[in-house]
Amino acid sequence: MRANLAHLLAAACPWLPCLPAAAAPAPLSPAAFVTQACSDCHAGGVTKGDFSLEKLDVARPGANPEAWELVVRKLRHRLMPPADEWRPDEPSYEAMIAHLETQLDEAARAAPNPGRGGTFRRLTRREYHQAIRDLLDLEVDVAALLPKDDISLGFDNITVGGLSATLMDRYLAAARKIGMLAIGRPPALPVTEVIRIPPDLTQESHFEGMPFGTRGGAAAAHVFPVDGEYEFQLRLTRDRNGRIEGRAGTYLLDLLLDGATLKRLEYTKAHDRGASDDGDQVLNARAKVRAGTRTIGAAFVQGGGAMPETEKQPNLAQFHLERHPRPRPALATITVVGPFQPAGAADSPSRRRIFGDAPSGPTDETATARRAIETLARRAFRRPVTPEDLAGPWRLYAETRRTEGFDAGIEAALRAILASPHFIFRIERDPPAVAGAAFHPVSDFELASRLSFFLWGAIPDDRLLAAAGRGDLRTPAVFDAEVRRLLDDERSASLARNFAAQWLHLVNLDTVAPDSRLFLEFDHNLRQSMRRETELLFADVLRSGASVLDLLRSSHTFLDERLARHYRIPGVHGARFRRVELPPGSHRRGLLTHASILTVTSFNNRTSPVVRGNWIVQNILGAPLRPPPPNVGDLQERTPDGRLRSIKDQVAEHRKAPACAGCHALLDPPGFALEHFDAIGQWRNHDGEHPIESAGALPDGGTFEDATSLQEAILRRPEIFAQTALEKLLVYALGRGLTAHDMPEVRRILRATRPGDYRLRDLVVEVTRSLPFQHRSRP
């Protein structure tokens, strides 16, 4: 590396604040920057990291946006030149970045490129679920109907172009089932559906949403296809020896339908431990239920059972035979069998959705059918329908009407609509070519779908379709009003439940299983509360018009008693989640201190600073990293003479390999900042015998002591996190990875939202206004 006095100074004292202000030299010119900072490794035949600037002109970066956008990103994160090489001063970094960005933005202004997502985009399984909900007022168990989606770039809505025969088969079968449920055709035989309650759910306290005076239990949406009699069977949890859990005594259970008690049942657990244990066989009830999606549940009436006279503070988790057994019985399953004596369904929410308020009469049967099929198809296809669109469903209706009657005819037409490629896929077509136009605005109906799938994860409602139909959806006032309306609608909870849950890996909580010997406190209750906290904070930041930066610095969070006790925060009682101001000394503030994130980034028996660091780099900092080289060794837990190494030493050892050092210098410090939290996010001062060392530095020089100050260090350059959040939103909104052509628009949005301190809601709105969201390139 070249060495002159300024360079030596910079190397000895690399961070701006320690340079005397008066001595600051003029920033390097772009050409000088490349020569001095880049060329040794990326020019003159040297192509470190398979990257060369040799043939590229720094004066005209717009000619090679892919390469130069990567340079911008590397410089923005201060990843290049590497930390142990000579580095330009801060003004030179900023000047170089400003030059490149200005040039790249100008080139993009001259030739905008909105990109081209797939022509066919299959609804994801969750979108399908929500589409059925909105189309038919039906809550179906979609996991039993469709295979899971493949995840790409962290989201389920990227790899959605294919339609294998298996998938088509499943769509056909799903259409058959949904058709039956929606119309209310009684099944050939009574159907058995089992609602299972997670076995690691502690059922000692009252649950949110259940009647007061109850404990434990569960409730779930269930579709009753027709009016009729149904049998309900409640069964209790058993230990591995087959015995019903809990102490002997008499217990009362309430069977609940839509929150009201349908029947009170009694169960007595005998003292005799030798007898076969099937006392819960009596927990059966039959009742007449009206058709529709209803909430079926059961819970224990508080009291009952002999409470122990003295006992130490019980463990929070109580479901484990040996370590923390259940003191009282708990619900294992709710089985619904039926219908018996089906009475058909003259009326149900789904039928009202299909037929409107005018159900069929003998006189206007054909007109009713036409109206119903036309309405269903318009909503399902999310656009006005043509006679050609209706030909198939109508044919199915007519054929079936002849042999099986009116209802069966409508059901057959509905099946055809649900199996149609126009429902299964979002299809975007190219309008006739216009000379010289490299791209076009997507049609108003396509735009309506882009909006509803982004903001709701579901199909457009009638109002949004009407706006598209009037042709004024693109008028700024109408467009903004619709976006506002969609965001204010409760369906926008999808942004927290689907977008944020995937971005932040909350969905993985469903499958984490911390080692129950090490983490006695972990149960399903905690798993659910963890996820809820983060989703509620995200939803709150979105709804209240707060800055996206608040995700990392908010002084309040959302807790129920379970999670508050996990955090050792006093004064939170009961199952209801509420906003809680974080007391000083609670160690909690911001996403990086949420138990949800700390848990999904850990192994089942220990924390992983590397996984956590990688999570932060990918999801908070958005720094570009290459995957590790093949066949890197695992961490070495022990020294050659067999002593247990501290995690810090293990990782340090790993970093000695030159192939690993580059990225791990970036990954590891933020990961270690979270080491005060164990693998389920509880505070600790030691990891085994080793004291926690959590201090470190970011590549841009910001230093930190722990998780809270790491977040402060990240927020010292707020645009870094704002950009990451924005890019994740764009990927999810567009259903594709971002390219260099998208970056000028990313920067435009960041400029537009900076004055408002990057309000999350503004970021979302700006995404909907953006060039790639509104337009599409020609093939």
């Binding site: 066919f120 996991a143 790409s152 069964r235 042999t403 099946r415 093939p779």
Partner: protein
């Protein structure tokens, strides 16, 4: 607690429910779905693949003897009753599985022997897998050309392998380079795909006719779309059309095969057993049923996913599988890995037990099926794809004899075994991926 059923499917509870998940019940309905008449003289060959993730502890997998086998190794010991039906083949390799994402590509190369295009996006690319090559020839008039099953109900995000989209890790079977065939893990869904939902024969016929009519219209609709689209999009539509035609064939076959006695509905498996072993056995049992009813002749089963960090408390392994697999020769971790491998193999043993206990023509299903069981990874501690743990089992209708351990002196492509198996089953195939020839040793008579 308000729950959605979806969130529950994984952690379910075996006992207590009125619903049955145990399988013996399913046998009772078999007379209702008698397979097409088959002469004892000409048994139909069947093909089955079982994937074990993350290699094995090889020293305890490999039998001590080579050539004729009298004793299995510790990991394989539970298979002893079927020793005569099993060939252990060692020192096969998968050169195309070496990548930055060794777990993803161990899975994707296992049946393709192909290199996966490195991408996290939707532009993934692999190759047609060997089971799909076979399905085109062996499918005959069975209801499903192939059946893909697995054990994982939930998709996970964020931890798919370095730079490789999750499709590579999730899917063993690929219809072509761009079409992975997603496996099904829910026993009831598998059951209903195999045997329907239990209406009367007349009602089922009516349902199939409606499906056929709907598919007709879907095809018309796609054709209509095709006319309006550009060249690139048109090829997408023709892929879709191919899938639709495939489903039409299935529907036609299904309709033709409806027998006049309805399959009873009440005993279909309702839930997902809580214990991994019970779930796996149920999935194996469903595969046996599928073969027995001649619903399909080609199956793939992913017993667990690569990178799975499932712990196995039921066999005393509290540490995750992936963590244990990076054992660095730490004896505790090696022991854990061995236990997991042994447990997985014992589940495969259950499958062989059931196949051997199921009469088929003049013999048993085991006599007429060819089964490849193994992993796309050798030593998981170093992520290699050499000296893969591979078992070949079953009589393949006379084409395969076991009781041997064939060890190659030089690493030999797994593709050679794929090719050899096709020859054994009479599937015409000149070469497959990086194959260099057939494994002649497999055809040698046993001493």
């Amino acid at each position: 607690m308000i729950i959605t059923k979806k969130a529950l499917s994984r952690r379910t509870f075996l006992r207590g429910a009125g619903a049955a998940v145990a399988l013996p019940l399913l046998d009772s309905m078999l007379p209702a779905m008698t397979p097409l008449a088959r002469t004892a003289a000409k048994p139909v060959p069947r093909l089955s693949y079982v994937y074990l993730p993350m290699g094995t502890n090889l020293p305890l997998w490999l039998p001590a003897e080579q050539g004729r086998l009298t004793r299995f190794s510790p990991i394989l010991e539970s298979l002893t009753p079927h020793l005569r039906a099993i060939t252990v083949i060692s020192n096969l390799d998968l050169k195309n599985a070496y990548s930055a994402g060794n777990h993803a590509t161990a899975n994707s190369a296992f049946l393709s022997a192909a290199r996966a295009k490195m991408t996290e996006g939707s532009d993934f690319e692999l190759a047609t897998t060997i089971d799909q090559v076979a399905a085109r020839h062996l499918g005959g008039d069975s209801l499903l050309p192939s059946l893909e099953v697995a054990m994982d109900l939930n998709s996970i995000t964020g931890n798919c392998d370095n730079g490789y989209a999750c499709v590579y890790q999730n899917n063993l079977s690929w219809a072509n380079a761009r079409t992975p065939l997603p496996p099904e893990a829910h026993p009831r869904v598998v059951f209903e795909r195999l045997f329907g939902t239990g209406e009367s024969p007349a009602a089922r016929r009516a349902e199939f006719r409606k499906d056929a009519s709907i598919l007709d219209w879907v095809r018309e609709d796609l054709r209509r779309l095709e006319r309006d689209l550009g060249v690139a999009d048109r090829s997408t539509v023709s892929d879709y059309l191919e899938s639709v035609r495939e489903v039409e064939r299935r529907v036609q076959n299904a309709e033709r095969r409806i027998s006049d006695s309805p399959a009873p509905d009440s005993d279909r498996p309702d839930g997902v057993p809580a214990a991994f072993g019970d779930h796996a056995k149920l999935m194996f049992d469903l595969q046996v049923l599928a073969l027995r009813g001649d619903v399909t002749r080609v199956m793939t089963f992913q017993l667990a996913r690569e990178l799975s960090n499932r712990s196995y408390p039921e066999i005393g392994v509290a540490e995750g599988h992936h963590t244990s697999s990076h054992h660095a020769n730490n004896p505790v971790k090696v022991a854990n890995l061995t236990r997991i491998n042994t447990f997985h193999v014992s589940l495969f043993g259950h499958y062989l037990d059931r196949l051997a206990a199921t009469p088929d023509g003049a013999g048993t299903l085991l006599d007429h099926t060819l089964i490849l069981c193994g992993s796309g990874m050798g030593n998981p501690d170093v992520h290699n794809h050499t000296d893969l743990p591979i078992l070949l089992a079953g009589g393949a209708a006379g084409a395969h004899r076991g009781g041997r351990h064939i060890r190659y002196a030089q690493p030999t492509p797994l593709a050679n075994l794929h090719l050899t198996m096709m020859r054994q089953l009479g599937v015409p195939l000149g070469s497959f991926s990086d194959s260099t020839g057939v494994l002649g040793e497999l055809n040698e008579k046993v001493l």
